[in-house]
Symmetry: C2
Amino acid sequence: MLALAACLCAGHARAEDGYELWLRYHPLPAAAAAAYRNQAGQLIVGKATSTQAATRSELLRGLGGLLGTPPPLSAEVTRDGAIVAGTPSSSALIASLHLDTRDLGSEGYLVRSMRVNGHAATVIAGNTDIGVLYGAFRFLRLLQIGRPAGTLDLRDTPRMQLRVLDHWDDLDRHVERGYAGQSLWNWWTLPDDLDPRYTDYARANASIGINGSVLNNVNADPLILTHRYLLKVAALAGVFRAWGIRAYLSVPFDAPVRLGGLKTADPLDPAVRGWWRDKADEIYRLIPDFGGFLVKAHSEGQSGPQDYGRTHADGANMLAAALAPHGGVVMWRAFVYANRPGEDRVKQAWDEFKPLDGKFAANVLLQVKNGPLDFQPREPFNPLFGAMPKTPLMMELQITKEYLGFATNLVYLGPLFKEALAADTMAHGKGSTVARVIEGRRDGHAPSGIAGVANTGSERDWCGSDFNQANWYAFGRLAWDPQQSARAIADDWVRMTFSNDPGFVGPVVDMMMASREAAVDYMTPLGLAHQMGAGSHYGPAPWDHSLPRADWNPTYYNRADARGIGFDRTATGSDAVAQYAPPLARCLADLACVPDAYLLWFHHVPWTYRMRSGATLWQALVEHYTRGLDAVQTMRASWRGLQGHVDAERQLKAAAFLAIQQREAQWWRDASIAYWQSLNSLPLPPGYAPPAHPLRYYESLTFPDAPGQSR
Amino acid sequence: MLALAACLCAGHARAEDGYELWLRYHPLPAAAAAAYRNQAGQLIVGKATSTQAATRSELLRGLGGLLGTPPPLSAEVTRDGAIVAGTPSSSALIASLHLDTRDLGSEGYLVRSMRVNGHAATVIAGNTDIGVLYGAFRFLRLLQIGRPAGTLDLRDTPRMQLRVLDHWDDLDRHVERGYAGQSLWNWWTLPDDLDPRYTDYARANASIGINGSVLNNVNADPLILTHRYLLKVAALAGVFRAWGIRAYLSVPFDAPVRLGGLKTADPLDPAVRGWWRDKADEIYRLIPDFGGFLVKAHSEGQSGPQDYGRTHADGANMLAAALAPHGGVVMWRAFVYANRPGEDRVKQAWDEFKPLDGKFAANVLLQVKNGPLDFQPREPFNPLFGAMPKTPLMMELQITKEYLGFATNLVYLGPLFKEALAADTMAHGKGSTVARVIEGRRDGHAPSGIAGVANTGSERDWCGSDFNQANWYAFGRLAWDPQQSARAIADDWVRMTFSNDPGFVGPVVDMMMASREAAVDYMTPLGLAHQMGAGSHYGPAPWDHSLPRADWNPTYYNRADARGIGFDRTATGSDAVAQYAPPLARCLADLACVPDAYLLWFHHVPWTYRMRSGATLWQALVEHYTRGLDAVQTMRASWRGLQGHVDAERQLKAAAFLAIQQREAQWWRDASIAYWQSLNSLPLPPGYAPPAHPLRYYESLTFPDAPGQSR
């Protein structure tokens, strides 16, 4: 109360700095608040467990914020408008309602308007405390987005079991491919100091159903497995527990050597197996609900079982055996491309892992990136999906915008995530979507999961921009239910984050929905990929071949010369198409069938190739680049027009970032066109502006200071 | 207003997260507020310049916060209780008062209660807008600390001209010896995005009289001098300008080679001179009030004029010539110790610079650390002070606690800063204090200055802990007037930052005032220095000799063996005492005269040496270590006892940090005693607990993850 009074009178209002995310809970308009108050006149919710206490505090905070004052707590329903939250086993009142909770599983909930003790009430129930917490967040969301709350009958359960954020956070707080400040984890002051932000992180995740957090970079430092660090991990896990979030760790495969002093990390060596078993036991003594390990093995310099002549399955199963007695899982990454030098990089994971299908222990998930390359603005889906029916495949999406302009570009990834999830593998005929594969029901997989590489950091707004928060939000919502639409999720997010003002919501959702295609267009249209500056992944550099590995460079991917452009992945080229199910492979290999969006991914064609539209490829490319730039200009104008609808602080910041994005979109368009012209000597189609600078200008730009680079 | 309403009703009060610093402006108790309202009934202040607008906004914000509502603005005095702020030249009303502002200079102010237009009023006046802004902050401070405001007659001017923060911030936002997150400057999003925090940084500095900011690390990246970065610097300078803060840059001496492509950086080479002249012109075109350059030359791997056979004066004067036409200065660091290998490190700066006295251009200041070593918990003053009467010496203090336990230790540096400033050089007889030397009046120096190595960063609380804010605050207050007492400054800071509650203020000021001596005691008592882990500067490592340069290692400084300990700097040793004025040198060289606090700095003595107290040196050492630990325990208990007097968030954080500090104090005491015992085989004095672990345990501890290390 002291602090609240202070806030009331501070004379200067606190800024809209984005810290509150979509849990903003600012007061609803008076009429809406008055209506809702009739449905929130009393709160009956336990506090016997930490999750119950969290549920109670969130409902008080949310309703108090939205409605002006929180409803009074009560032990029983004594008036209309009560909210009753709990499980049949923790609440005699809930038990007395004889709700059918059988299909809610261990995380589902129902939210139902019904009579309780003769009064109108809203019941939020589940089989577990965490289900009830999810239901409470769902109920609050309804109020935030202005939906009627008087006649509810909602039931929901997650489609996947593990809904996880992967933090590529180094222990010195550098975040690889992070563009939002430092790591959220202040390892130096843990475990003593528990920054309140750790709780807010867990709240935000719980509100969208995320239930796991891999705390450290997949390029893992063995220090994380020292006892000193495990105490810190335990402190974070202790904060997260109430909110249903399990902690996981990335571990280096050679930790027994680097940390344990063993001579080998051979997964079949008894001492190695014993070391990991002891380490797992130590971890579980400190963190009884520890989630498990994420492993990047034999990839980009990381050690792996192949260093000892063993397979990925040998390595994964050895860790799985250490974790199994405690209920932990191994998330083993399929992101490898070191095995067969000279082979098309995008083929290598399939080559390496498909033969191992059926060889993994029951508590191993293979974590597969959405596409076969690396989180490009657009890629075809990874052909491993559908190809390993005996192995639980966990999808890895990237929320941080490593290849999409970093924090300053407005690119809503909902459509990208949806495209990846909805892609049809045709592995079992039409409708075998990637989402169905990872949900695992058809193949009867017990663990199922999806991971997102987090975009969070120490910046006040968490994600480096307000709009980047939408990508965190959309990931969580889609991880819970991949069938939801990207637009509906954006609509919810805008309402929760900014306002229900229809003059604002519509235009902003339109901006967001157009933003990803705009980025594809101005960066890498028509199936191009990896044209960013080598290493930094910042800005256009289609000419770049500076890095030692061919397949780290843009020229490897564009294969452009005087006559044509694109990567032949048909039978006349690398034959990567053959990794897809036959009917799909046939289409992708066929110029008459392959979608324009993947043309240059699968085919090398002449600049004069005639598109379905009748335009030449060269004309179409120029048109796409220009269209992308135009779309950014449209977004920027649209945002400028919304000035009166949004607080000045967030308005100004997004406007500054859109100015950057417009400059970068222009740069992408102009530099790309200038480079292609230097090869093909073709004139621009009529009506298109030439690049602002000569090619040598674009080639001269260097950005040693580009953020997020790996160390 | 929209945002304020939101704040009122958010349901959850904003946390006391330390962001507001000492400009907290939370509501005063009702009685106090009522009394002040009679002296703040009306506000007359211009807004014709950005500084006037800043003054107006700060008075509205401050009075609005403290008193509940801001006073109405008015063009003239129409009632009692008016506040009139301005300069004679900008305000006809101020001019009509015929105030005597002659001695206020360009930054001074007066705050006076007087009749204006027949009404009781408070007049805040100066010769310049910035003087008025300083006066406004002074007036607000009076209210914050609960002083009577009705009968004021204050006049104040700064004793030094350049009051500067040095940011050791790298361009990738790493802060060397920074323990509060990343750099405040988000170079990647500058100049487009102007984080509101940049303004709050400038406000905080202006409130304590700081008027300059060196934006980047003295280990400087030439990238800072590219046009792309100068645009970013200009954007920050543009934010700072209204608040009287000038931007400065650290520059690498070899920038003409690394950035300009020249073959040499020889300061006498015409092309080099031309390059710097052009660069200065370019900077001043973008930033007309740019402050100048800070240079770390020929020190710890940095290039310098000696690389080309020239002197420090040649180098400094070349840069000075480039800046002089624009009014800029060169701050040339005297922190060098590379010249004479084998020579006592603490002697080398004096050896190198004293012969150059009188050789520097008029716009060069020599920036000299307070002690001759490197920001130790305690050092004697640097003998250069008083030894170079023909050169303006600028003092460099360290606000960040590189050698004092980093951010988590509570060590109030006011007493350390005071000790450094009040030290008597005896260069011109008794009373020639270091403060008098750097004020420069005796020697008639035009530029005078003092710099503090900043402890700020991107952490929400700016400094990594609430109590670290006091060190930033004390630096500014002492830079303005070195005669103020550390206790009085602490008292103001506690009141402004926490509360005027006398049951809180007294105990907390006592804690703060005892904290620095506690740190000296548990870390490096009786004149020991640099006993921290080599490189990291974290934790005790008196045994450490791991680094390649002898004088980077603790053993170099303690010189301990079976018979004794300490560094003989008398004539029988390095004779560093001879660098001090003769009467002082005689005392320091004499065991009968040297203060205990500097005993082992100047003398190597046997463990059995008899102190004035009658105890042996060994007994005294153990007693000091133990006393330091006891003092931390006392601080911790004291803070625990104040629980009801302070908000829970700040209480918990400081309590967590005090727990860390107690652990570390114990570790310092025990590890130091264990190591000395391994050499001297002496028993502990009766009643003193033995170290908790054997020496090998302490020696085995490694902290590759210690924050703030240089790259």
